[in-house]
């Protein structure tokens, strides 16, 4: 009956709207609009005492971008930030993978306990945990060095790698490993030919969850890396709080956002090319 089927169609559509509207609204109000304001700000002139110069007097300008492109130091800091983010992601992956495997292979009751331990650090304040690292690294003569920054970054982001990996590995059908072994695969071959490729979606989402926040992180480099070791996050923060050059800060964070989007696009393209998992 067309009449009733169109009615169910309409009510299904209504439900879909009701469910998706609130999050969509939230994203528009708290992400899209601020991002657009930020983008607009990057084309303005800085005000004398911070903020932005009145639009009527100074209008739009490309000064902030010109400034960034003129000085190679900005490109250098962006590259360094990417390197730190990449290294942190890699170290997190190397540390988190065996841990996730260990958790998945534990008996059910121990597994829940181990997952709890992974997220337990979130129960205490982030800054306190970083200060704790200062106390640990100080006597080792590592404080205010690139090593300290990496250690801090890895420490903070490790759970974000472990959890997606764990969620992925837990879903693997043990029959596949048995089939691989049956067909002649030894321990390493089973890992590289079955477990690893099947875990790639987890690896990619974990990597994104580590890589992207590390790029924007300023607290860790500031507290553990000292003043000599600026990353892009510190630079942006400085423009807003210390230098009072909002357009420059806005331009830098817009460039960072674009870079992150490029990385995210690349990683999702990679996943899609792997076919359905």
């Amino acid at each position: 009956m067309p009449a009733s089927s169109s009615r169910t169609d309409r009510s299904a559509r209504l439900t879909r709207w009701l469910v998706t509207l609130p999050p969509a609204l939230f994203l528009v109000v708290f992400f899209l609009i601020p991002a657009l304001i930020m983008a607009a700000a990057s084309f303005r002139e800085p005000g004398e005492f911070g903020g932005l110069a009145p639009l009527a007097e100074r209008g739009f300008s490309l000064d902030a971008y010109r400034f960034v492109l003129d000085d190679v130091i900005y490109a250098w800091i962006l590259a360094k930030s990417f390197a730190v983010a990449g290294l942190t992601t890699l170290l997190c992956l190397v540390l988190a993978y065996p841990l996730a495997v260990l958790i998945v292979r534990s008996p059910k009751r121990r597994r829940d306990l181990l997952v709890l331990l992974v997220i337990l650090p979130f129960a205490s304040n982030f800054l306190i945990r970083i200060y704790a690292w200062m106390i640990i690294l100080g006597p080792l003569d590592l404080l205010y060095s690139p090593v300290a920054v990496i250690v801090g970054m890895v420490y903070v982001h490790l759970p974000f790698m472990i959890l997606p990996l764990y969620t992925n590995l837990e879903k693997h059908d043990p029959a596949l490993l048995e089939a691989a072994q049956d067909l002649g695969a030894g321990g390493w071959a089973r890992f590289w030919c079955v477990t690893w490729p099947l875990s790639l979606p987890g690896v990619l989402s974990g990597s994104a969850l580590v890589f992207i926040p590390v790029l924007g992180m300023f607290a860790v480099p500031e507290l553990l890396g000292g003043t000599g070791d600026l990353l892009i996050g510190n630079l942006i923060k400085e423009q807003f709080l210390d230098n009072r050059d909002w357009p420059l800060g806005a331009a830098l964070s817009l460039l960072l956002t674009l870079a992150v989007l490029a990385v995210a696009g690349l990683s999702s393209a990679l996943t899609r090319n792997r076919g359905q998992m």
Binding site: D173, A175, L176, E178, A179, A180, Q181, D182, L183, G184, A185, G186, A189, C193, V194, P197, L198, R274, G275, Q276, M277
Partner: protein, 361 residues
């Protein structure tokens, strides 16, 4: 020397003896089947052959060499799992090439053998498809191809047709027979479906509660089951309780309570006076409308209580005058002969003196 020798293997899980003192030989080139109800230990035996499990007692020998201590990846034995366990991240060709790659074959050989094996299972055009794009029957063929491609000494198949619908199942049975004949690999097949076992196998071991009840060729299992379990498990059979009155070289004379005397053939030694049952297949019973013939040898009067017209045959259920319910099969050959007897008809049930087998208790 048999290809695979299984010697007195026992496997316990806690207090449960899943496999009890099983001994059997599997010959090269054979289509061998382990048949039994769910939970009788078939999978446990397969896992011990594949190397995923080890017997608590007893030994296995492949080509005369003991298998103990050899890990699964080193055994020239491959398995087709009921769930297929295809690698979801590899294409059909990738799945089939997997064992060749693990064996370190050359790139040329891998390509050639993969193509050959794809053709063998009629999936030439599916090499680039992923498992999730295949139908159940196609997945089944990929699993078979993957198990066969590296020419194992033994291919183990654990209820491989269990997940298919009836029609497809029948077709795959035909393909399995053809495939096994073509590649000549020894198959050890596990199933709980007796018809499937009868249709496919060269030899069948009927299992019950971890033990082998009877090991024989399908015809022998069907016509001369050794005990009630086998008789009951394979096909449909009528059991007529009786005691042995006389035993000679020519046959048995049995006394059935409420029926009278029955003449039956001898299979092995039977002691006079022993109790048991005459097991006789429905197709060995004849039904005629002459109820008055009761009283002749192996003729008994009764009434039709139910019939099932199946097209080629009709199955009658007849209640004899002593209350025993028998099932008889009448073929429907000839025009207009689809059905003879109506419910309630008085009939005579008859069988030859050399039909059936006496099973002592």
């Amino acid at each position: 020397m048999a290809l695979l020798e299984i010697r007195n293997i026992t496997r316990r899980f806690g207090s449960l003896e899943a496999v009890k003192d099983v001994t059997l030989d599997i010959e090269a080139g054979e289509f061998f089947t382990l048949l039994g109800p769910s939970g009788c230990g078939k999978t446990t035996i397969l896992r011990m052959i594949a190397g995923f499990d080890a017997p608590d007692a007893g030994e296995l020998y492949l080509d005369g060499r003991p298998l103990a201590g050899m890990p699964p990846e080193k055994r020239p034995v491959h398995t087709v799992f009921q769930s297929y366990a295809l690698f979801p991240h590899l294409t059909v060709a990738g799945n089939i090439a997997f064992p060749l790659e693990m064996a370190g074959r050359s790139r040329d050989e891998i390509r050639r053998r993969t193509t050959e094996t794809l053709a063998l299972v009629h999936l030439e055009d599916k090499g680039d498809a992923f498992p999730h794009e295949l139908s159940g029957g196609q997945k089944q063929r990929v699993a078979l191809a993957r198990g066969l491609v590296n020419k194992p000494r033994l291919l183990l198949l654990d209820e491989p047709l269990g997940a298919l619908d009836a029609k497809l199942r029948e077709r795959m049975q035909g393909e399995l027979i053809a495939l096994q004949r073509e590649v000549g690999v020894t198959f050890v097949f596990v199933t709980h479906a007796q018809q499937e076992a009868l249709a496919l196998s060269h030899r069948i071991a009927v299992m019950n509660e971890g033990r082998i009840e009877q090991l024989d060729v399908p015809e022998a299992l069907y016509s001369t089951p050794k005990n009630r379990f086998v008789a009951d498990f394979i096909g449909t059979i009528n059991l007529i309780a009786a005691a042995v009155v006389e035993a000679s070289r020519h046959g048995l004379r049995l006394a059935a309570p409420g029926l009278g005397e029955i003449a039956a053939p001898v299979h092995g030694a039977v002691a006079v006076g022993s109790n048991g049952a005459l097991a006789i297949r429905p197709e060995h019973l004849r039904i005629s409308g002459h109820a008055d013939r009761a009283g002749l040898k192996n003729h008994f009067a009764g009434a039709v209580v139910e019939y099932l017209f199946l097209g080629d045959v009709t199955v009658y259920k007849v209640r004899l005058d002593n209350g025993l319910l028998l099932e008889a099969l009448a073929t429907n050959a000839g025009p207009g002969r689809a059905r003879f007897h109506e419910i309630g008809d008085r009939v005579s049930v008859e069988w030859r003196h050399d039909a059936g087998v006496f099973l002592p208790d």
